[in-house]
């Protein structure tokens, strides 16, 4: 027995304890170098009444929903391409994973160069076909498109490869039967493939959604929440108010608790619907 003892102790020490300390700090008005005083729910009342916080919640959830939906939709399309036999799809399959493992900070810096309005190749390529030039992350019109594009570039492989693994494990019989009935490729896609892939697409969506809620690195490197506070997503909002700019530790802690509650409820719901039967020895 006791196989789980180390992990229990470790998570209690490095997750539970910091969260309890966070909860305590969130009830104080601590702001370095001022002394700290207990103010009950003052920070929470301030946060919930702050339009910037509500803006931050709204844009973070919209962003996460947008990238997750987009990546699953494009992912399905690309997975169908990769499912074909041939050397081209084999090569693509193995190179396709690379963006997913690159350091996100480096990815963001790389895209900052690609999108640079004065020397970036993106405007050059679009210019060749008669679009642009765009200001990308510097302009309110295109800043979200820029952040979404980078997220899609980096994370599209994940839902795609999940869907591809789903495609490869589909049973043959229904396809053979429908072939006999003279079903076309698009009919098979609509009535067989998509319904059978639904669970895996839903799972891919929620995983991307929950991960995208954490967005920080690209915002830190590209926009710092700007223009104005347009792209001030939750992680960056916590960083700016709690540490970076204002060092309001108590207030930043309250923001963190609110984010833990929001993502916690979501994660719990998702986990409950996905972890159904226990996993045990073969």
């Amino acid at each position: 027995m006791g196989l789980a003892l180390p992990i229990n102790v470790y998570l209690a020490a490095w997750t539970l304890a910091p969260l309890l300390y966070l909860l305590y700090l969130s009830l104080t008005n601590w702001k370095v170098p001022n002394p700290r005083r207990f103010i009950w729910f003052g920070n929470y009342i301030e946060a919930l009444g702050d339009p910037l916080f509500r803006h931050s919640v709204r844009v973070t959830f919209s962003y996460a929903f947008g990238v997750a939906a987009l990546e699953v939709a494009i992912g399905l399309f690309v997975a169908l391409l990769l499912h074909r036999r041939g050397w081209l799809s084999t090569v693509t399959r193995s190179l396709f994973v690379v963006p997913m493992v690159l350091t996100p900070v480096v990815t963001a810096m790389m895209w900052r160069a690609l999108l640079n309005p004065s020397f970036g190749p993106m405007n050059w390529v679009l210019g060749l076909v008669g679009f642009g030039p765009y200001e990308w992350h510097a302009s309110p019109d295109t800043v979200w498109a820029s952040l979404v594009m980078i997220d899609v570039w980096q994370w599209l492989p994940f839902p795609t490869l999940l869907i591809l693994s789903g495609l490869m494990s589909l049973p043959d019989e229904p396809y053979e039967a429908s072939q006999v009935d003279g079903a076309s490729w698009s009919q098979q896609l609509r009535h067989l493939t998509l319904p059978m892939l639904r669970p895996i697409m839903v799972a891919a969506f929620f995983l991307r959604f929950l991960d995208a809620l954490k967005v920080f690195d690209t915002v830190f490197v590209l926009t710092r929440g700007g223009p104005g506070t347009m792209t001030e997503v939750l992680s960056f909002h916590i960083y700016r108010f709690g540490l970076g700019e204002f060092f309001r530790l108590g207030y930043g802690s309250a923001l963190s608790v609110l984010v833990v509650l929001m993502t916690g409820v979501l994660a719990f719901t998702v986990l409950r619907s996905l972890l159904k039967e226990p996993i045990t020895h073969a």
Binding site: G2, L3, A4, P6, I7, L11, W14, T15, P18, Y21, L22, L82, R84, L88, V91, T92, L95, F96, V98, P99, M100, V101, L102, T103, V105, V106, M109, M110, R112, A113, L114, S118, F119, G120, W153, L161, A204, F206, L207, D211, L213, F216, L234, I238, Y239, G242, L243, S253, S256, V257, V259, V260, T263, G264, A267, F268, L274, I279, T280, H281
Partner: protein, 277 residues
């Protein structure tokens, strides 16, 4: 009919080429930027043909460009990745084995472990900053490693569960009949069988640590600074030396690409922790 099939196949191949170009061009561009002489960095239309120079790499690696000690930070990243991976494996592997061996309480355990995976890292940095200060661990490799291990644990457990679950039940019970305890059975019988899993979990954990930014940003100063944190100082300058940014980027991503080459299929499975079996 054949001509229609040919057209469909041509369209699919064109789509695949499009996916390849979209995936690889940005990285190819990063490589070009890192080799471009400073005088041509800002040329528009962008130049694809030029006399390559390794000056940016030289400046970054040997001249401490912008006063940044790249080599030291690169090794910091390596140390943190190694140490956090060791901790995560030491703790996560027995936990995964226990969860598979005793499925009765598995759901609760998995909930607790996997919920860590969904927590945005930024929410713990404020308390951790002061906990680390109190423990005299701020700006140390050990301090950051302890936290990176927390983030790696859900993935290590998830990857290992699949490997333990693939072992036939009889084998586990046979090991116990011999009079060995659970720990001995794990160490002597199970670990050698799941060695490929250990490699996958270790690579995955190292990759996570190598790439992690927000916690490293807050918990490290000069002594334990990691590569992602150091890289952002390059774009905070008034004049950005894009050739050096690119060279730094290339140096930072080389290990990740090597990790990825070994991980391949485990990568997606690991990332799907919490959802897809």
């Amino acid at each position: 009919m054949p001509s229609r099939r040919l057209a469909a196949s041509a369209a699919a191949n064109a789509g695949l080429v499009g996916v390849l170009v979209w995936t690889l061009f940005p990285i190819f561009w990063l490589l070009l930027m890192s080799l471009k002489p400073a005088s041509e960095a800002f040329a528009f239309p962008p130049k694809f043909i030029f006399a390559p120079t390794f000056d940016a790499y030289y400046q970054v690696l040997f001249r401490q460009a912008e006063g940044v000690k790249w080599v030291a930070y690169w090794f910091n990243s390596m140390k943190v990745a190694t140490l956090s991976t060791s901790i995560a494996l030491l703790i996560g592997v027995p936990a995964a084995y226990g969860l598979v061996r005793f499925p009765a309480r598995q759901r609760l355990g998995l909930f607790a472990i996997l919920s860590v995976r969904f927590m945005p890292p930024i929410v713990v940095v404020i308390p951790l900053l002061f906990i680390m200060r109190a423990l005299k661990l701020s700006d140390t490799v050990l301090g950051l490693s302890l936290i990176h291990a927390v983030f790696a644990l859900p993935f290590v457990v998830w990857i290992m569960i699949a490997f333990f679950a693939a072992i036939p039940r009889d084998l586990g019970e046979a090991a116990l009949v011999d009079g060995a305890g659970e720990w001995a059975a794990l160490g002597r019988v199970m670990l050698p069988i799941v060695r490929p899993g250990l490699v996958a979990a270790a690579l995955f954990s190292a990759l996570l640590s190598w790439n992690e930014f927000p916690v490293a940003l807050v918990l490290t100063g000069e002594a334990a600074k990691t590569i992602p944190v150091a890289a952002t100082t390059l774009i905070a300058q008034r004049t950005i030396h894009w050739d050096r940014v690119a060279a730094t980027g290339m140096i930072a991503i080389v290990p990740t690409v090597i990790f990825a080459a070994f991980l391949q299929r485990h990568l997606v499975r690991g990332l799907s922790a919490g959802a897809v079996k």
